[in-house]
Amino acid sequence: MNLEDLQKKLLAAARAHPPEDRVPYAFEKRILARLTAQPVDGSALWARALWRAAIPCVAVTLLMATLSLTMVSTETATVTDDDVSQQFELALLAPANQLEELQ
């Protein structure tokens, strides 16, 4: 049997019988119902929100890093009493200091 001819004949048979394009009744209504009833994907919303928040977070981090680096360089030059970092540390450790005083 000539396989080449058989292949051609079968492909011609497939071309001679194109598939139907019939659409089931009210198919579009079913799709619309599915689309409107689609549940809100909570994790996807979270993921999208977090991705959107990533850029401002990176920007703030970079800004703070730049600021702290410039402040460190000025700090080494002149350390004053009203240094922001000193005040921040005092404020942060205030409860601990008070505890120590009470004891």
Binding site: K9, P19, D21, F27
Partner: protein, 234 residues
């Protein structure tokens, strides 16, 4: 001038049109009769681009005319790859849901139909890949008409008509035996007469990859046919 088919059926054709109006959708009826509440634009009167823009902005109802218009093509495509009607419907449904979700990425450079068909072909390919393990070794169950057709082809090839149902069944069996990529390529290239470039655009594969896969698919098909005839005649 606005023609009202319900008021003035001048001949039989017009009268029939007037009778069919209640069967049409509200929007189509507006289009025929020309009576339209002010401020409301029926979906059928809007262009495809307007419908897409409305659907993207969340108006799901604007998607309906698009589904109505292109579903026959989506179903015909799905029927090339899935045998059971349930599977065909699942594929069509997936195509439309994906289309709605990704509608924002449609830029309008090419017609909507091309964009949709790309999605349909890729969904069908995913379907073939996910059902790869379920493929049966179909040649053990060849029916009597198919057997007769092969017999006729073996004795006098010209007497075996390609219009016979048996030939259609046989090619379906052969395609089901093929790998997903091979089946997709043979279907697009040989059955739908698409060019290599078109297949490349539809599948997302490069042109050389399409050519390589087409070459392999033809070889694969010939091997399957050899097995079919060997099982039968040796």
């Amino acid at each position: 001038m606005v023609w009202d088919a319900r008021r003035a059926p001048r001949n039989r054709e017009m009268a029939l049109t007037a009778m069919s109006i209640p069967l049409l959708s509200e929007a189509t009826a507006f289009a025929v009769v020309g009576e339209q509440p002010s401020g409301i634009v029926p979906p059928m009167e809007r262009t495809e681009a307007e419908l897409i823009a409305a659907a993207v902005s969340g108006d799901t109802a604007s998607f309906e005319p698009l589904i109505q218009k292109y579903s026959p093509r989506v179903f015909a495509t799905a029927r090339r790859y899935a045998r059971l009607e349930r599977e065909v419907e699942d594929i069509a449904q997936e195509v439309w849901i994906k289309a709605f979700q990704k509608l924002g990425s449609f830029r309008g450079d090419a017609p909507f139909e091309h964009w949709l068909m790309r999605m349909a072909v890729r969904t069908c390919y995913d379907f073939l890949r996910s059902h790869q393990r379920n493929r049966e070794s179909a040649f053990s169950e060849i029916s009597e008409p198919e057997d007769d057709w092969l017999e006729r082809f073996a004795t006098a090839p010209e007497s075996a008509s390609e219009h016979a149902d048996a030939a259609k069944q046989l090619i379906s069996r052969v395609l089901e035996e093929m790998s997903p990529a091979g089946r997709l390529i043979i279907t697009l290239l040989e059955l739908e007469d698409r060019s290599v470039k078109e297949i490349s655009e539809l599948t997302g594969w490069s042109v050389p990859l399409v050519k390589v896969r087409a070459f392999r698919a033809r070889g694969e098909m010939r091997k399957i046919l050899a097995r079919l005839t060997r099982d039968k005649y040796l």
